[in-house]
């Protein structure tokens, strides 16, 4: 393994220096969408020279969900290579890779897509490529990145393919976002989105407020919103991304079939792309701006869990007693989830990337132990970690989807798959987070 970003060069400077690499794949044909004229693929497309902050690409691949009990004939997928069992589409982070390594990531999709963030009012460039679908060469689908909830976007950067443009196989497009409204959002491919979302092309994104850095309102200087009073300040933050998988639809895509979508149901409800107790396993490399990869650009599996190589995001929440912790929820499943935290009250301060305040400043925050979220909704939640019970270990609190029956992860009578733990350590034991979801344990 190696650190692909050379030390001593700033992230953005490095990215710009390699930004000229092109992803154009010689001979890739545009075979759908009614393009009838003679194609003019360019060896270096005009956009490839644009600077970017992150570079993602869509492709297919495999991931791992509880294999037992089976859901015959759909799960485990009989075409899956060991140790995987579920066919997915997904985004991969290609930031900093050279052309050959980037192209080598085809058929190595991950779920969820890399979580990323940007700063309020700072233009952000996200380059999107399309590596094609290895297992389904018959599907010449384009991809897009739709930032779900981005206010007052122009269609050009919205990623909805009918009103805008989409990225064919072997091509590139750079989305520009100027984040004007802090909060927690989500993103997904909007091409054939019933299928591409269910197949895993989904992730969480958030905008940091301009108030960040002001330590007068909250000592950490880190906030969820421009609250003006420190009420949304936090010490640690964790993105918790909710998604679902219906085994039949994944099997259908790997077996060149079409599912009947009105039969949809949740076989697996996921938190950060995993089912409980895999949600507790450590992170892979999840800081999108400082990726650590194998020499060939592939993902490094979390320690001891080669089956979670393409599900690098832990859903574990770790904190010191007394820390104020921000949970950023985003639900891109198709069904409502109802997340209950046993033993610690949660304060909901934001919904759908909006501070819960009336236009006249009226406080609308909610203190609760259960946060229900419909499909496509987000919540920003704060809790203060309770005192530690003593000793050197951690105290455990459970955070779980109250709708147990949905997406049990085949765990029978225990908690559903969309479950994780909040581990509270003695004061001062855990160091500061280097990035969101950094466990420091």
């Amino acid at each position: 393994m190696e650190q692909q970003t050379p030390p001593g060069i700033s992230r953005r400077g490095f990215i710009r220096s390699v930004g000229g690499a092109t992803m154009a794949i010689a001979g890739a044909g545009l075979t759908g969408g009614g393009l009838l004229n003679v194609l003019r693929p360019e060896s270096v497309s005009a956009q490839a020279g644009d600077p970017y902050d992150l570079w993602f690409a869509g492709t297919d691949g495999w991931m791992s969900l509880p294999a037992s009990p089976a859901i015959p004939p759909f799960h485990p997928d009989d075409l899956a290579p060991d140790p995987f069992n579920t066919y997915i589409f997904g985004f991969r982070n290609l930031t900093g890779l050279n052309k050959n390594r980037a192209e080598n990531q085809k058929f190595k999709a991950a779920h969820p897509a890399p979580m990323f963030w940007l700063e309020e009012n700072v233009p952000f460039h996200l380059r999107l490529g399309n590596l094609g679908l290895q297992l389904r060469p018959d599907l010449t689908d384009a991809h897009t990145l739709h930032w779900h909830g981005f206010r007052n976007v122009i269609p050009f950067f919205d990623g909805e393919p009918s009103g805008s443009v989409s990225v064919p196989i072997g091509r590139e497009f750079t989305y520009v976002y100027v984040g004007r409204d802090p909060g927690t959002y989500m993103f997904h491919c909007h091409v054939e989105d019933v299928e591409h979302v269910q197949m895993g092309m989904t992730g969480l994104v958030f905008i940091r407020p301009a108030q960040d850095g002001n330590t007068a309102l909250y000592p950490s200087g880190k906030y969820l919103y421009n609250d003006g009073d420190g009420s949304t300040g936090f010490d640690r933050e964790f993105g918790l991304f909710l998604s679902e998988m219906w085994a039949e639809s994944h099997w259908a895509d790997s077996h060149v079939q079409l599912p009947e979508w009105s039969d949809y149901h949740v076989d697996f409800a996921l938190l950060n792309g995993r089912t409980y107790p895999d949600t507790l396993e450590p992170n892979g490399s999840i800081d999108p701006f400082n990726p650590v990869r194998q020499n060939n650009g592939d993902l490094i599996a979390p320690a001891g869990r080669p089956d979670l190589q393409y599900q690098p995001m832990s859903a574990l929440v770790t904190c010191n007693a007394g820390d104020r912790v921000a949970l950023r929820f985003a639900n891109l499943g198709f069904i409502e989830s109802s997340m209950t935290l046993a033993g610690i009250p949660m304060k909901v301060v934001g919904k759908d990337a909006g501070l819960l305040r009336g236009r006249d400043g009226t406080d609308q925050t909610i203190t609760t132990h259960t946060v229900a979220m419909g499909a496509g909704e987000s919540r920003d939640v704060l809790f203060t970690a309770p005192p530690h019970s003593g000793g050197a270990g951690y105290d455990t609190y459970l955070l779980y989807n109250r709708a147990y029956a949905r997406g049990s992860g085949n765990l029978g009578a225990t908690l559903g798959g969309q479950s994780t733990e909040i581990r509270v350590y003695p004061p001062g034991m855990l160091g500061a987070q280097a990035h969101p979801n950094d466990l420091q344990n």
Partner: protein
């Protein structure tokens, strides 16, 4: 850069649809007694006397997969069957009388959830029970084959409400016996409710009425065969009684004779710095049996009322909130202010997008895309690519985000999908 549009060979139906979208208003059809029948936006059925005569009718609707579904509905006066039933618009304080004339072979009634002190034939509306104590109807029904009932109430609360059958609702509501009731506040028709900050642009008032169909239920009703309600499973989901792409066709589109209500919102960009430039209003209703999380892209809404009740505290505190998902529970309604402007003020000359625009050959172009990032500009469309953009206008989608529900019994990307059409500021070349 401006090039002639190149119309592609498309199914005739889609071309008709697009023509209806982008050309002048079609003649008003005769089957709703509306004061105005705009090409887009809310179509109100009004009454100078406050009395509405609603007659049950049967008919068929066209679904996106080409199937037709047998339906029931209420129609105004002697109008033909329509789905959904007419949007009744009244003013706050009106005494509203709805006379139901039942032509079906089963008892039928009308409930007005959210209205207080409803009277049925002069007596307080009450559930009805059989001689053996079994609930037979949630309110007084009209007898089969020509029975009538007169319901009345005073429309005290401004906002958006449903009306629907109170008799065998698990069958009759699902068969289509429902519609919307809009009560306009005494402050004026351009207000959502009594609050000054509920003012909207009356040209940008839209309905988002979400429903569902299990075709086996409708088939069983049509044929008079048995149906086990435990087997109920919707296969179609609709917006304003249509699935996409019919949903973006004009009101009263000629090829949808019984589905008069379009769902496209046609707006102009607002000036965010001009307080006189008012938002539009979306009137959301869910007549289905599960929650529908409706997501307008790039266009957050401020929810100002729920179930016809203003979101404010007892001291007038503002309890409205901004959302990018309008999640509607069954039977719920939301009044939502919305507006769109280009947050970055992109301009072809003065403020270009900060990326190189790839050659058209290196992208797929959507059929509503103008070929240019800039509002009011049309760029080069790849030869042969179908395109329906008229004048450089923007199209931004809105759809149910329970994504398995934007399908039609196997046909993806249909169902409750519509678009926000943003026309360039006036004067423009859009013909409006």
């Amino acid at each position: 850069m401006r090039t002639p549009k190149r119309w592609a060979k498309r199914p005739v139906r889609l071309v008709l649809l697009l023509a209806a979208m982008t050309v002048a208003a079609l003649p008003a059809a005769s089957h709703v007694t509306a004061q105005t029948t705009p090409t887009d936006g809310l179509v109100c059925t009004t009454s100078a006397t406050g009395q509405f005569d609603l007659t049950t009718k049967t008919g068929n609707i066209l679904l996106p997969d080409g199937n037709r579904s047998f339906m029931w509905g209420y129609s105004a006066g002697t109008n033909d069957f329509q789905h959904p039933s007419p949007v009744l618009c009244v003013d706050q304080g009106d005494t509203v009388t709805v006379v139901l004339n039942n032509t079906l072979d089963v008892p039928v009634s009308i409930m007005f959830p959210g209205q207080d002190d409803v009277m049925a034939d002069g007596a307080p509306s009450q559930p009805e029970f059989s001689g053996t104590g079994e609930l037979t109807s949630l309110t007084k029904p009209a007898a089969p084959g020509g029975g009538t009932v007169s319901y009345s109430f005073v429309a005290n609360n401004p906002g958006t409400f449903l009306y629907q059958s109170g008799t065998d609702p698990a069958i009759q509501v699902r068969m289509g016996l429902f519609g919307a009731l809009v009560v306009r506040p005494s402050q004026g028709a351009q207000f959502g409710n009594h609050r000054a900050d509920s003012e909207f642009n009356p040209d940008e008032e839209v309905m988002v009425l979400l429903s569902e169909i299990d075709p086996y239920l409708n088939e069983a009703v049509q044929r008079g065969t048995a149906y086990d309600l435990a087997d109920y499973q919707p296969r179609y989901w609709l917006i304003n009684g249509r699935g996409f792409p019919d949903s973006i066709a004009a009101n009263n589109a000629s090829w949808l004779p019984n589905q008069p209500y379009g769902a496209m919102a046609v707006v102009h960009p607002v000036d965010p710095d001009n307080p006189l430039d008012k938002p539009g209003i979306g009137r959301y209703l869910n007549v289905g049996t599960t929650a529908f999380p409706f997501h307008p892209h790039g266009n957050n809404g401020i929810a100002i009322a729920r179930d016809g009740k203003v979101l404010e505290g007892t001291g007038g505190e503002d309890l409205s909130f901004e959302r990018f998902s309008i999640n509607l529970g069954p039977g719920q309604t939301w009044d939502v202010l919305f507006r769109w402007f280009d947050a970055e003020g992109y301009d072809e000359v003065l403020n270009e997008v900060s990326v190189n625009i790839p050659d058209p050959q290196n992208l797929f172009y959507g059929e509503f895309y103008s070929g240019s990032p800039y509002l009011g500009t049309q760029g080069t469309i790849p030869v042969g690519a179908p395109n329906a953009n008229a004048c450089g206008e923007y199209y931004i989608i809105s759809h149910n985000h329970a994504l398995f529900q934007i399908t039609s019994w196997g046909v993806p990307m249909t169902g409750p999908i519509t678009y926000l059409r943003i026309d360039p500021p006036l004067p423009n070349d859009c013909g409006n």
